[in-house]
């Protein structure tokens, strides 16, 4: 018998130390297996380098387009309300070329569209579309950087070379139109409902005016609010630095926390504006025009004196497209001035083909009554054919160079809208 006051050392050890049994061994094995399983779930990167010289770009083009032939069909993905529902342009295209087109309005938002197609493109699978329209944005930069887009063969785009305005030929997000060519452009400015806003806003500071407390709508998109935050501070968004972003974010937070902003909207701002839930808001030029035309509302759109951003929705062909030749034929078809005019007449966004203005004018001269008035209005609208003075006030989005910069940008602006 051991002395009761000094317990058996083995007993003590048993009390104070864990003993590893068979079960524990299994547990440890299981844990390390789980660890391995966790580590195996890594997501592979797909980044590729942008061609650095024009010779390299040219060889990429030749490599891709060699041996590609016309198949007689195109699958075209576009945004809602971005073409006459009768698709007169596409019908004409089929008549002239024999290529049939399946047109689907499947793109609602750049971010969600990117999220939808990214896994398929990463796996090199077809996304079922040969042609799509994407806005210049963080996502477009990524599509280019990840190597998901076909380098365009400009020899197959004679109308583009001939008819497209110079300013659309050297956009900062894709200099030289290596991967993208413009479909239409629009401005982000201030829209207001004159029923409630009696003095037309001329400056971004109207969106910070306490008298509109709770009646101001802003966009949820980080780039859109960032641009407004910078414009109101007199910063050119295109040339902004991270320090400018912090300043803009402060200004935007102040606007939110003093209760001026009612809500951060996606494209759904136009109904609340028409109903009077909001009185003035960030808006895209064509939306206001189309709403007035379709619902008889009297909403107004202004480009503030500080300037505004112009964005461009671009044609592009995904790498996995089945019918690239047919797709590029269709792209070029849209740059014929009569076709560009017919499209602009319906969508009321800026057309990249300046010659369309004269065609719309002559169409107006031939038309009568209500149609004539509408066509004249479109031909003279600074929102469809911006004058050089308006263009001088327009800036493009800041192109974010790499994922580190993108992450920095989003981490500054995203918390503002997801408050």
């Amino acid at each position: 018998m051991s002395n009761p006051s000094t317990p058996d050392p083995a007993f003590l050890r048993g009390l104070t130390q864990r003993r590893l049994g068979r079960r524990d061994a299994f547990r440890v094995a299981g844990l390390s297996a789980a660890g391995l399983a966790l580590a195996a779930c890594g997501v592979q990167g797909k980044g590729v380098a942008r061609p650095t010289s024009s010779a390299q770009a040219q060889s990429e083009v030749e490599k891709y387009w060699a041996g590609k032939v016309k198949n007689g069909h195109v699958d075209f993905a576009n945004w809602p309300l971005y073409m006459d529902p009768e698709h007169p342009e596409l019908k004409k295209f089929t008549e002239q070329t024999g290529i049939t087109v399946t047109y689907k309005e499947v793109i609602q938002e750049t971010t969600s569209w990117f999220a939808k197609i990214q896994p398929q493109l990463a796996a090199g699978q077809s996304i079922d579309y040969d042609l799509m329209v994407v806005t210049n944005s963080i996502q477009l930069t990524q599509l280019i950087k990840l190597g998901y887009l076909v380098p365009l063969d400009h020899e197959r785009l004679p109308n583009f070379a001939k008819n497209v305005g110079e300013r659309y030929k050297n956009e900062s997000f894709d200099p030289g139109n290596v991967f993208t060519v413009p479909y239409a452009s629009g401005m982000t400015g201030i829209a207001y409902n004159p029923k409630y806003v009696t003095t037309p806003p001329t400056s971004y500071s109207a969106l910070w005016d306490p008298k509109y407390k709770g009646k101001v709508g802003m966009m949820a998109d980080s780039q859109e609010i960032a641009n407004f935050g910078m414009f109101v501070l007199g910063i050119d968004p295109e040339k902004s630095t991270p320090a400018d972003w912090e300043k803009a974010a402060d200004k935007l937070r102040q606007q939110r926390d003093s209760g001026i902003v009612r809500k951060y909207y996606d494209q759904s701002y136009i109904d609340p504006l028409a109903k009077g839930d909001i009185w003035l808001c960030q808006a895209w030029s064509g939306d206001v025009f189309q709403k007035n035309l379709s619902d008889g509302t009297d909403l107004k759109f202004v480009i503030p004196e500080e300037g505004a951003t112009i964005w461009t929705d671009n044609f592009m062909i995904p790498k996995s497209a089945a019918n690239p030749v047919d797709a590029i034929t269709l792209i070029d078809f849209f740059y014929q001035p009569p076709i560009a005019a017919s499209l602009a007449e319906y969508i009321n966004y800026v057309t990249p083909v300046p010659a369309a203005q004269e065609i719309i004018r002559s169409n107006a001269a031939k038309a009568t009554g209500e149609d004539k008035k509408t066509l004249e209005m479109i031909a003279d609208s600074p929102l469809v054919f911006p004058s050089p003075e308006v263009y001088a006030k327009l800036r493009t989005y800041r192109t974010l160079a790499d994922s580190a910069e993108q992450k920095k940008f989003e981490s500054i602006f995203q918390p503002i809208t997801t408050s």
């Binding site: 890594g42 997501v43 407390k213 994922s403 580190a404 995203q414």
Partner: protein, 287 residues
């Protein structure tokens, strides 16, 4: 041989459910856990690095939204009990032979898509809409009064959208109360109120428990109501997670937030089940 078959039967029975759980629960959970510990970006890929920083970042930046989600979920659940219990009680005891008609009427609006129902609230509650417009015109409400883009709209929307999931389990629990128990209470000189408090209410609690589970969990992780009916400072954690995945493409932070939310809800449910007991609940849920 027969012995072997007998031994295998339970496994064969659990096989379909087991496979289902493995594919749709275990695998996604493991992938999500793994993603939450990775670092990198979409262009260069994500690599598993035991990167706990995503949890730190997620919690420091978005703890407000997590707490708000739980508070909104709880508030919506309480409203649902207050509204749902009397409804279930009325259908179970006063419904008579039309019970199934009333149940059908209760469910009828819910045959319409969740998102559409929420958007129609937006129309109803708009600042000059059919509800607030007339009240403002006759001067009952100040001109700048609003419901949309406030926490009340979001909580109201949540309470509305998940209401049947509260009413139905309570109804089931009430419906199966043996009328003879009520008669016995009456025979023993219990008044109506006494009977309700000491017989009906305790017997209905398992239904309430199941209802709370079925509404609190989806309500706290919902993002539709906050994005349609909310405004500034009403963002819920579901919106943040959606944004982190789709807009920022910060998969690790999104996964870390999802995992945190899941863990919080699980801990809450276990504590709640422990406090109230689970056997009756399982019985009700199984019906």
């Amino acid at each position: 041989m027969r012995r072997l078959r007998a031994a295998l039967t339970p496994y064969a029975l659990i096989f379909p459910g087991g496979v289902w759980l493995a594919i749709f629960f275990v695998v996604p959970t493991v992938v999500m856990l793994s993603l939450s510990l990775q670092s990198g970006n979409v262009a260069d890929g994500f690599v598993f690095t035991w990167n706990w920083q995503s949890y730190v970042d997620g919690l420091t930046n978005y703890h407000d939204q997590i707490i708000r989600s739980l508070v909104y979920g709880l508030a919506a659940t309480l409203i649902q009990i207050v509204i749902g219990f009397p409804v279930a009680y009325w259908i179970a005891f006063k419904g008579g032979r039309h019970k199934s008609v009333y149940l059908f009427l209760l469910l009828l609006p819910f045959l319409v898509s969740f998102v559409l129902r929420t958007i129609s609230w937006q129309f109803l509650l708009s600042d000059n809409g059919m509800l607030l417009g007339p009240l403002k015109n006759i001067g009952l409400l100040p001109g700048d009064f609003r419901v949309l883009a406030t926490p009340f709209a979001v909580i109201g929307g949540l309470a509305y959208n998940f209401l049947p999931f509260m009413v139905l389990p309570i109804y089931v629990a009430l419906e199966r109360i043996d009328p003879r128990v009520l008669e016995a209470a009456n025979d023993l000189y219990a008044g109506k109120f006494q009977t309700f408090l000491r017989v009906v209410l305790p017997l209905s609690l398992p239904g309430v428990f199941a209802g709370v589970l079925m509404t609190f969990v989806p309500a706290s992780s919902d993002y539709v109501n906050a994005s349609v009916l909310g405004g500034t400072n009403t963002t819920m954690i579901g919106n943040v997670i959606q944004n982190q995945y789709l807009v920022t493409q910060d998969y690790p932070t999104a996964s870390a937030l999802s995992f945190t939310l899941m863990a919080l809800l699980l801990v809450g449910i276990f504590a709640y089940a422990k406090a109230l007991g689970t056997e009756d609940v399982l019985e009700v849920a199984a019906r």
